[in-house]
């Protein structure tokens, strides 16, 4: 099966008052149609920046490296400059769901109008059809009284319903790739369970590719097929979800799993990962994880090692530095 999305050697840097900082460094991954790639990591690890570079939504002070490629449907989207081209990846072939559904709807425009507006831009249809499609989609995501909701404002909906409406809007243009950036983090557990089920059903029905960003490993276990673990802008481990969660190799992945409170084992002590995530302004040289690594080797401590993923088992890639260390 051919790849829907291919990201190669992506670096993202931002120019700030304090200097140029690295947000994402040398990231490569692929995504197939109908599959879900989960990206996990702490805040500041570059998860959202990675997703946003696919749609070129990063701010004006962003710099991409020259040999980076983001190939979607045989086109390198990083080369897109014209409005027509950008439109294709911003809502056409690619849609995005954000964390805070209140902030992603315009507060003074009715939900229905916002849904129609984007449909008219991306698909060659008239207003009547756009309305029909939108109401159908609202029904599909489980919003009762879809026609009534269609004529309401975002503040009139509850949090769970807003997130559903957001999903309906993102899917109504039939994108090939869905970027979900912490879509369930702001929701209660009961609503989160409903939204996860909904996203899974829709992926199966429409056969789209999904990049699911979250810091909740439980959510990843339930939705993703593949996982990439990010730390300070680097992917430190990636592979099939079962393999990564049951047989983690990188100390950071292990740390994340151990820090998670387990409801089935209340006697286990909570183990934090020692230290703090370094500021992007003083990024460690060589292996970025060495300042927090539980057992760094001498080379590593002195910053003499180089990072890079190696395949330890079929499909399971781990950063080489940590394999040599531990």
């Amino acid at each position: 099966m051919s790849n829907l999305l291919e990201v190669k050697n992506l670096d993202v840097k931002f120019d700030t008052d304090e200097g140029r900082i690295t947000a994402v460094e040398n990231i490569s991954f692929t995504l197939q149609q109908g599959k879900v790639l989960g990206i996990v990591g702490e805040s500041g690890s570059g998860k959202s920046v990675t997703a946003k570079s696919i749609m070129q939504l990063n701010p004006g002070n962003t710099f991409y490296n020259n040999n980076a490629e983001i190939i979607l449907d045989n086109e390198n989207t990083l080369n897109f400059v014209s409005k027509e081209d950008l439109r294709k990846i911003r809502g056409g072939k690619v849609s995005m769901i954000f964390q805070e559904p209140m902030a992603s709807f315009a507060p003074a425009i009715k939900i229905g109008k916002q849904m129609i507006e984007q449909l008219l831009i991306h698909r060659d249809i008239n207003k009547e059809d756009a309305k029909k499609i939108s109401i159908n989609m609202l029904n599909r995501v489980g919003i009762a009284d879809a026609e009534k909701r269609f004529n309401q404002y975002a503040f009139e909906l509850s949090g769970g319903m807003r997130q559903r409406a957001m999903i309906a809007m993102a899917l109504s243009t039939m994108p090939k790739l869905l970027l979900a950036d912490e879509p369930t983090t702001a929701l209660d557990v009961t609503i989160q369970a409903q939204v996860i089920d909904l996203i899974k059903d829709i992926i199966r029905e429409y056969q789209m590719g999904v990049i699911f960003i979250t810091h909740d490993l439980g959510v990843i276990a339930q939705v993703a097929d593949e996982v990439a673990v990010m730390y300070l802008g680097r992917i430190v481990e990636k592979g099939p979800v079962n393999e990564i969660l049951k047989n983690p190799k990188h100390p950071y992945t292990k740390g994340l799993l151990e820090a998670l409170p387990d409801i089935n084992n209340l006697d286990a002590p909570l183990k934090p990962i020692p230290g703090n995530i370094p500021s992007p302004l003083d990024r460690p040289t060589a292996c970025v994880f060495r300042t927090r690594c539980p057992n760094p080797c001498d080379d590593c401590r002195e910053g003499k090692t180089e990072m890079g993923l190696i395949e330890v088992e079929p499909g399971h890639w781990v950063d080489q530095c940590c394999i040599n260390c531990g």
Binding site: D188, V189, Q222, L256, D262, I263, L266, L270, P272, I273
Partner: protein, 330 residues
């Protein structure tokens, strides 16, 4: 001397609500007829979805919300404080003894004050210390207990990460030597790796300083780990209350069961479906009659469906309290 630190007796909190200036005044029943006793030295957990009244109850216990009926009593060593009719002088005393840790460490700290000034502010406002030297000593003492680097006290909050900021908030709450702490979603905004660190710190401080916590959270696995006793709230009512092990190993109320089954499992092969609750939490403006949970209950009995049952906790096992409606239904 009583073994309880806080007794909450039949407390209700209502808010007035008017949609616009011509419409009728209504009452929002945020918290209804709550009875809890918080033992000295315990870690009392309060869980529930957003809109269930957890925070309102926490604030009512601190005297930050008006209590509409019932009373809250704080049992200090020498005397009791009754928060429903407390005079200004006593309220000032009470505030030294009961403090709050907020959810968002980014919003809770003033960006224009140094860490030292942030931690010292309660001491100055409450006039606890008499000289600058004394204030400084107290600040340094509590900062080192909260594992803050003392050389960082002159810095401003923007220089710190989320976990460090939360430690600053904790230090500020503890500097007046309180006995009772309300921690309102204090780890919700943190990454898992730091969350574990803050929880361990809270536990450690509890032993060192003899604290009693009311820990408000929506994260059941966190509550299960740190709390001794847990109360589950739904739409202003406590629907189940038990020591945390009992509650999580043998939940009785259908709402608690649904909450537990909704936690996504870390094992990818465990695809067990969550007990799905229909719809969302109803508005507190017009809560369902009878049992408030009946509109989302997976198996309501006939009486319940018609709203003819009455709510109230009954003790089904020693120390395990469940709402009677659900105990009778299923």
């Amino acid at each position: 001397m009583s073994e309880n630190l806080i007794s909450v007796n039949n407390v209700s909190v209502n808010f007035d609500y008017q949609e616009n200036f011509i419409s009728k005044k209504q009452k929002i029943h945020a918290v209804n007829n709550i009875n809890i006793k918080i033992k000295k030295g315990s870690f009392f957990g309060l869980v529930g979805e957003s809109g269930s009244g957890k925070t309102t109850l926490g604030r009512a216990i601190l005297g930050a919300n008006k209590i509409s009926s019932g009373n809250v009593i704080f049992h200090d060593d020498e005397r009791d404080y009754d928060l429903t009719n407390i005079n200004k002088q006593d309220l000032k005393e009470y505030r030294k003894k009961a403090q709050l840790i907020f959810q968002d460490p980014y919003a809770a700290l003033s960006p224009r004050m140094t860490v030292r000034d942030i931690i010292a502010e309660p001491l100055e406002v409450m006039r606890i210390t008499n000289s600058r030297q004394e204030t400084d000593d107290r600040v340094r003492d509590i900062a080192s207990k909260c594992r803050l680097n003392l050389e960082h006290l002159r810095r401003f909050p923007h220089a710190f990460s989320g976990g460090q900021r939360q430690r600053i908030s904790i230090a500020r709450a503890l500097v007046s030597n309180p006995k009772f702490i309300v921690a309102d979603e204090s780890v919700a905004a943190l990454d898992v790796s730091i969350q574990a660190d803050i929880l361990n710190l809270l536990k450690q401080l509890q032993n060192e300083l003899n604290l009693t916590y009311l820990f408000i959270s929506h994260d059941l696995s966190v509550v299960a780990h740190v709390c001794d006793i847990v109360a589950v709230m739904y739409l202003g009512h406590i629907v189940e209350m038990a020591p945390s092990r009992k509650l999580f190993q043998n939940p009785k109320h259908s709402y608690t069961k649904a909450l537990l089954s909704s936690i996504p499992s870390i094992d990818p092969e465990n695809k067990s479906k969550a007990i799905e609750l229909k719809g969302e939490i109803p508005s507190a403006l017009n809560p369902p009659s009878g049992c408030v949970f009946r509109t989302r209950c997976p198996n309501p009995c006939d009486n319940c469906r018609n709203g003819e049952t009455e709510m109230g906790l009954i003790e089904v096992e020693p120390e395990h309290w469940v709402d009677q409606c659900c105990a009778n239904c299923s």
